[in-house]
Amino acid sequence: MAFRSEETRNRLLNLLKDPVLLLTIIIIFAALAIFIVYPIFKVFSASLIDKNGQFDLSAYTKAFSNRYMRQGFFNSLLVAGLTAFFGMLIGYIFAYTINRTDIPLKGFFRTVAVLPIVFPPFIGALSIIMLFGFNGFITAGIFGIRNFPVYGLWGLMMAQVVCFFPVAFITLDGVIGTISPTLEDAAFNLGANRWQAFRKVILPMSIPGIASTMLVLFIESLADFGNPLILAGSKFPVLSVQAYLQITGMYDTRGGAALAVWLLFPSIVAFIIQKYWVGKKKYVTVTGKPTTSVLKSVNRPVKWLLFSLCMLMAAFTLAIYATIFWGAFVKAWGMNNTLTLENFRYVFDVGLEAIKDTLIIAFTSTPISALLGMVIAFLLVRKIFPGRRLMEFTSLLSFAVPGTVIGIGYILAFNTKPFLLTGTLAILVLNFVFRYVPVGIQSGVALLNQVDPAIEEAAYTLGADNRQVFTRVTLPLIVPAFFSALVFAFVRAMTAISAAIFLVSARWNLITVQILSQSDSGRLSEACAFSVILIAMIMAFILVLKIFLKNKVSLSGSESMGQG
């Protein structure tokens, strides 16, 4: 190997001299290769290579010649596009109204807009059926309509918008919240009216945020599995569900893999645009001093119009979740509305194992995922080593890869030696660890970028090696990122479905799978009871963590991290 300079050689030699660091990097690379790259590769190879090891495109031609499958592809893109647009729009209205007007109940709106994040993503679908379906509370119960078209495009889109608009709100809240009101003052001062100030200043400045949000929602919607499984119906096929049915229903692994590849492409394209193109176009208007200015972005009628829109959406969101709670306590939704605890008895009868399994899996995968996220963030921000960019890309990749693809990849990759894991606890835990690690990495990277590197350098000069610097200095400093990663990974592990549905077995089952199968067989009240228990456990976890953090860990460290 020819080294460009002595310096490069020295760097590599130093890496060799630090076995802990070197080993960590190698292990992480190996793990990313095995648990993220290899399964995706298996999906490709399964779809492209036939039983005899010959290159063969028949899985694709077969899928493409089937009108139904073709329709699935276009439907997926259509729903994803619509969900991205409407989810963004509602998120924008919320973020704008909360940041730019002096409406009452801001705290309430903020909570409602963030809350759905901790709920299982397909609860929206369940609830929409209960409200608008055949026995729907609103359609059948109030209006007496029996054939409201809830199955298909509009129902699915509604469910997805409800469950994904919080993602849009959080991003756009950050974008609009950091646009200084003095910019509007300046626009007014230069003779603009309110509408012109919005159109010429606020809107252009939030374009990168809007684009980024829409791409993220697009990816989420494409990857969504629970909602379409419940709502898409046979008349409105979508890719993620078709891939699943192809494998579990038709035992056609190759066909399923081919559909998964179709699903993968738009997601990856959107991810790359989001990360490497839109992600770089940000307007930064941080001025150090907080600027206070009287809010006067909109006039009174517009303000109350925005307020009403937010209220409407909030009411709808709350109705969705209230329906689930109510549904858990009635005998048979839409037919016999007597209150009962019967459903919960049923859940504990049938589903106790699934509840236990879910908790075991979540509690094992969550800390590993969060810690791994911090280690990778530390390496990415603070260390120079060959392949750093590659590590970043692969570790964030699992965010972009739809769960269905990963699920199919896992069953293909880990059903033979040397990685025989099918049916074990390990396959579920590993899947969750690597699927939910990107959020930990991103929050770790964001926080670490604000920590003065001199703090860690000081530790080195005082004799600490890499491991000691990480455990004694870095980790305590990025503890807030660690805990937010912990919460996120826990919520996701508890509510996971798309990849997990391929990996559950008789021995290891999940509550989410139970909810889907209950609602599939029409036992909506039982599905609701499962959901209520799931939500209760998530809330309890977050609550306990909050209390624990208040008493135990001082987070004040983050306020005095030197000048970054």
């Binding site: 300079s5 002595e6 310096e7 020295n10 760097r11 030699l13 130093n14 001299k17 630090d18 003065d452 001199a454 703090i455 350098e457 000081a458 530790a459 080195y460 000069t461 005082l462 004799g463 600490a464 090696d465 000691q468 004694r472 200095v473 305590p476 400093l477 503890v479 001082s554 004040s556 460290g557 983050s558 306020e559 005095s560 991290m561 030197g562 000048q563």
Partner: protein, 359 residues
Amino acid sequence: MSLILKNVRKVFTSYSVETVAVDNFDQVIEKGQLVTLLGPSGCGKTTTLRIIAGFEIPTSGRVLLEERDVTNLPPNKRNISMVFQSYALFPHLTVEENIAFGLKLKRLDRSEMRRKIVEMTDLVGLKGLEKRRPDQLSGGQQQRVALARSLVMEPSVLLFDEPLSNLDAKLRETMRLEIRRIQQEVNITSVYVTHDQVEAMSISDVIVVMNQGKVMQIGSPFDIYARPENSFVADFIGRVNFIDGTVESVDGDTVVVSAGATGNKIIGKRGTELVPGKPARVVLRPESLSDRKEERINSLSGKVLKYVFLGSNVEYELELSDGRKINAVTYNPVERKLPVVGRETELYFSRESAWVIRV
């Protein structure tokens, strides 16, 4: 010989553009010395310091610490401590825990650790603040913690990276004296980076003036000020007048320079190699100019353009007959009367204060 830098060179490459940050830095630093690296921002002083600390690996050259080659040794194995510009205290630890951080890594026994921490808090004046967290301390106190944390390790060399630049002017002066006192008390070899010349003058045994990666001059504060080897050093430290001319004759360390259009002959002291007939530059500090002849053998005359009365002294600008401008300072103006704008004035200076260098 505590610390030796041998031909240290550092080149940064970004997008295949090479920038020489440090160019052939060669210096021996003796035990117990405080050496300051002084220069404008981007001159390579901080890079040099980071090479000594081990955060940067030099492109070529060696770093020797107590006769051991440490060029490729990671920072934690060097026994070199550093005091950072941003203090870099561990925000999640108390004062005491910050100081104990390195000792714990060394697995020192408890009573020994206790003793050292008490000794150190005494030395730097932090008694009574042991249980506080960094965010409950003032800037000056934080800097004391940073100093204590580094000193307690009894390092072979202590590094300072602009340690006072985040303090206000008054505190900076006190801390400067504090650092010098403590450094001399424990007799620790130190390398100190600053861009503030007053700071450098007041605490250093040796000053290394750097510019664009190159060492411009190494010397005591007096030498750097009174005997600059080049225009950069003369200009960077303090205020200065340059009078350019031609070397007329050289006799030992006495030089005669004919000062261009004015036709004046200046008898000065030779600062560098000089050849008769070649251009030379007379370095003249404003305070060397006096309105009294006394023993002074050189003189300049010109018109007073303007003056600024500053209480203890008066600064004024003189225009020579060829249009060149000269700055002068007189002290004790109460005794001496103020200059009059527009009046022809004659100023005198000695041979010793006319320092002649090559251009």
